[in-house]
Symmetry: D3
Subunit: 237 residues, 6 copies
């Protein structure tokens, strides 16, 4: 049997090279062009001077995220949501995941009655866009916090913990980390991890695509993810 | 400090009583009214003689699921989606979860070019509606398969593995299974498990609501979930 | 010529057996599972602490109704409105009919600036769902009024008259009451009556499906409807 | 007590003057500008060379109707449906009524697999727009049939009976016919009748706005409506 | 080569006969049925006692316009926007053009915090509907201003300049003005001019349909448009 | 009076520096990141193997364009169209302008039954985004044509002429070219020109914002635009 090989001689436990460009374009409070191999996402932070109605007059803030694909970010052109009649269900699910992953590490009482908008726009999609967006959104928010503290807009920090995200899964029985698009479509199982530097869990989500997976395998996948996330945080933050 | 107690003297590792009523109303191929304590969901199966366009002429079938809340299923009336302008994002996410949890345990080649629709309508919501829907949908589909095999509509079985789903999490440091609505809103973390009888993973999803969670805690949560799912499958199937 | 016969030896002037289950599921102020033969509808009452803008600051209340079919309530699965792009015109028309039928028998000044929501969800459709919803909605509202008076939420009664609803029509020249789905699709004409116990008119609506109908026939249809409604009110209320 | 008087000395049993203008503007197969007092509606007929999917390959035709208000047809500007997000429920209900009133008097087998569109646009609304649209639509269709028979597009007639429509109701205990907008808003009950020249029923719809109405009163209302419709048909057709 | 001829012996520099009917139907502040040959548009003015949120508390007013086609205004029935799921892009563009053409000639400070709505409904479309709407809307607004000044609703005039609009273009190398539908579909280029009586520019828009056009040609087109607009204003205002 | 000065000592007749980056990200047939000063737009070309229904079986192709703003492209975050209920009217108008500007310079018969999609996404908006999109779209399409000719996908060229676009207008009586956002909001008039290298007209659109403009002024504006476009084409193409 042919052994599974990764492109560019990448090792099974090796993440793709990450490149950060701060504030590449636009007028957000802060933004990051996050590149992980051929996956390229723009994560941008805006601040709105109000909160959703369920938080009115409670003295605390809110964070919400939106994820979208540029029409030509994928090999086959994606129908623009504004031109379509129905919203893209996958984008809605990922938007919720990003918001859910960032909120637990914030103290929004320190923000006051404001809403942080995270806009994640995928410029080029080669697998792992949702984890790229979580890590990129965290980095953009960290930079925005610095600016807001410097300008006096914030009195105290709102970020209380540091996170990063990565995917890991199994192809042909082999555990690998940071799947690209081609690997993703061949994977038996694919998990997304959002963890702190010490490996604590913020969000965990995964699905067996073809058959049920043993817990031992999952533990090995998780260990690889922990190691990779620690490495990302150590390198980038 | 007051110790956390569950309603009705329920133990921390005890699931709520489950009650099944097959084909309570409607004209589906098969349906189950699945009650888990005060949570009541209707899971109904329909068959359509076509497949989505991306599967046309490939000789295989498809399964899709939709989740919705009846307006009075919750303590505060839910706006009806048809009356609202925008779709409910949470319902979209759960609809995708249900479909994703059932598809890996099916051999859809044996279905031919047909689409199975799973309609999950929440009649009463007291926490854990999404896991109730996964288990209920599996049981309704199993019953539908029996009828289809009996009638000759199916030649071979399409179900290749058995699953159930449960939630588990932590309140005040205490690991508990099968959270009701009140527990859910107090939980530090809440995981949803879709597992096979032997505890293999089909789908895993969870979020720390307030702070990051240690892996040791997660393993304990998972062990409790495995035990509970084995018990559900042993009892109900 | 074969004479037309009804299922289960039902007589031409005989309504189907009615079964009421109060508060079967959900968390409304009050609800009724109304079964008329194989037609099963859930009618649920909620109260909202505001009124539409055209009634603001007028010291009076409002009542509105929504009617919807569960996807598997009919023999062929109904497209869920939330998944569809356009609203179901038939459901909109019936929603308006239900609201119009209940409002004339209420003194909404006694409600104050609140809105009563009636949610009618069809669980199983075998003809006559709209009249089942009117009668069911009235009974659920009556029960809700009792609770609101007991709790002090209401000071005075809002219901000033009692109503019920029934359909009647003609098949093969024969006048019949309470048409089921099969009869409905064969009927030459089909009328829906919303009447008080003494037979006074609240709402009347009917359409000749195939040819114009003589007034004498209509008077006979109406007499049968009056008799049946008097019987329903006498038996159930 | 002041006695109720009608504007312009109109008698209680007197309909407003009707004025017909054929093909006033537009490029329909045929159209009528139907004026009844200050109520002015345009009813236009178009033919489409296909049928809805539920009628495909059955050798018969279909008829559908749409009703809409021009923004400035009413005293307070109506929000344009295309600018609004939700469709106008009242317009949907009336659209269905118009289609339902015309279909029973047609033999659509003689049309073949085509769809007749009736567009009813209210140019000026002073009460009774829905009955004006039914009568106007019938007259426009009659004229269209003449043209289609002359051109050979139709081989046989599709219209098998003649109808007209009128409203009648009660104000201050007085039975009156053909209510204008001001009368409509004061009426205790308001019925819409679609009848043939000999007074047979095609469609009947009415609602008590304030209290239930005795059958004797309804019979008197109906008699007045029959008389008025006979007069309309005698005069106009 | 056959020389291009216009219908009804119209000369190349001759506009179609214009007919104005004030307040033909409806209840607007003022309206004009503007007919230019076979093109017939209704332009109606309404006043709303509020402004869009971006103008709140600035002491000035706003003007907005909406353009729509009646379904039977064209040779092939136009899908009604309310029945369609998506808005008509062409109608949106023309709506914006009409508002943009009228706002520069108004002093909206004299209006106070009110919004003028211009509703342009095309009753019959034979080319040039957008320019007919601009001219018609101006005339209707002028008439509305007279009424508002007379009634004291306005203290000072809001209209500060007079405009009209016309189209002009090239067919077979020949410059012509006021193209009808058939000419429009054959034109190499088609420009729309909104000018004052002395020929100053308010709005200019044109597109070469088949090939780029020399500036000399454009100047000739513009000269013809100026002459025609001067003539319209002299004749009608 | 203070004389009007441009930022960065730009002269009145000087365009902003243009920077082109081909294929910066995504998987389109070809794309250009077009930067004009601080305005940055991505123009990407995709090819679809079908045509809209009105062109089916005519042996020719089609081109369509879509324009959208990234949420953080402007100083105040733009509501994402997919999250909004209504489409952005301005974006629709500009989408139509882009398509209209490119189609006249193409011979789509040489494309066959295919549709070219132009996606223009504004990454950073500092005035003149629509003209940047037209020029960028043309350059991206030119590059795509080269690839398609090389790969044999095209047999013959489809581009038959070269165009570029620029804005020009008047501030404080001074004619200037290539307005940035701040200038745009102060302009008395603002025109957009789409011209060929020799200055022939493809599309012309402009509106006086505050008062009508003399033709002599317009001719001066146009002369400046022609000069600038000739310079752009000479420099970039």
């Amino acid at each position: 049997m042919m052994e599974f090989k990764r492109k560019l001689d990448r090792k099974f436990d090796e993440i793709r090279p990450i490149k950060l460009t701060y504030d590449p374009f636009g007028y957000s409070a802060s933004s990051v062009l996050f590149e992980s191999g051929n996956t390229k996402v723009l994560c941008a932070i805006s601040l709105e001077n109000s909160v959703p109605s369920f938080l009115k007059n409670k003295g605390t803030g809110w964070l919400t995220a939106e994820y979208a694909l540029l029409p030509t970010s994928t090999h086959q052109r994606v129908l623009r949501e504004s031109s379509s009649v129905k919203r893209n269900s996958r984008s809605i699910e990922i938007s919720r995941l990003i918001g859910r992953s960032i909120r637990p590490i914030l103290n929004l009482d320190n923000l006051g009655e404001k809403t942080i908008h995270i806009d994640c726009d995928v410029l080029q999609a080669d697998g792992g866009t949702r984890v790229a967006c979580v890590t990129g959104a965290f980095l953009a928010l960290k930079r925005a916090q610095e600016k807001w503290l410097a300008s006096g807009l914030l009195k105290k920090e709102i970020i209380i913990d540091e996170i990063a995200a990565i995917s890991a899964g199994i192809i042909d029985g082999q555990i690998i980390v940071d799947l690209d698009y081609e690997e993703d479509s061949k994977a038996e199982i694919d998990f997304n991890f959002v963890l702190t530097q010490t490996g604590k869990i913020i969000e965990l989500q995964g699905t067996a695509e073809k058959r049920a997976i043993e817990w031992e395998k999952f533990i090995q996948i998780a260990d690889l993810a922990k190691k990779s996330i620690a490495q990302i945080i150590e390198t980038l933050y």
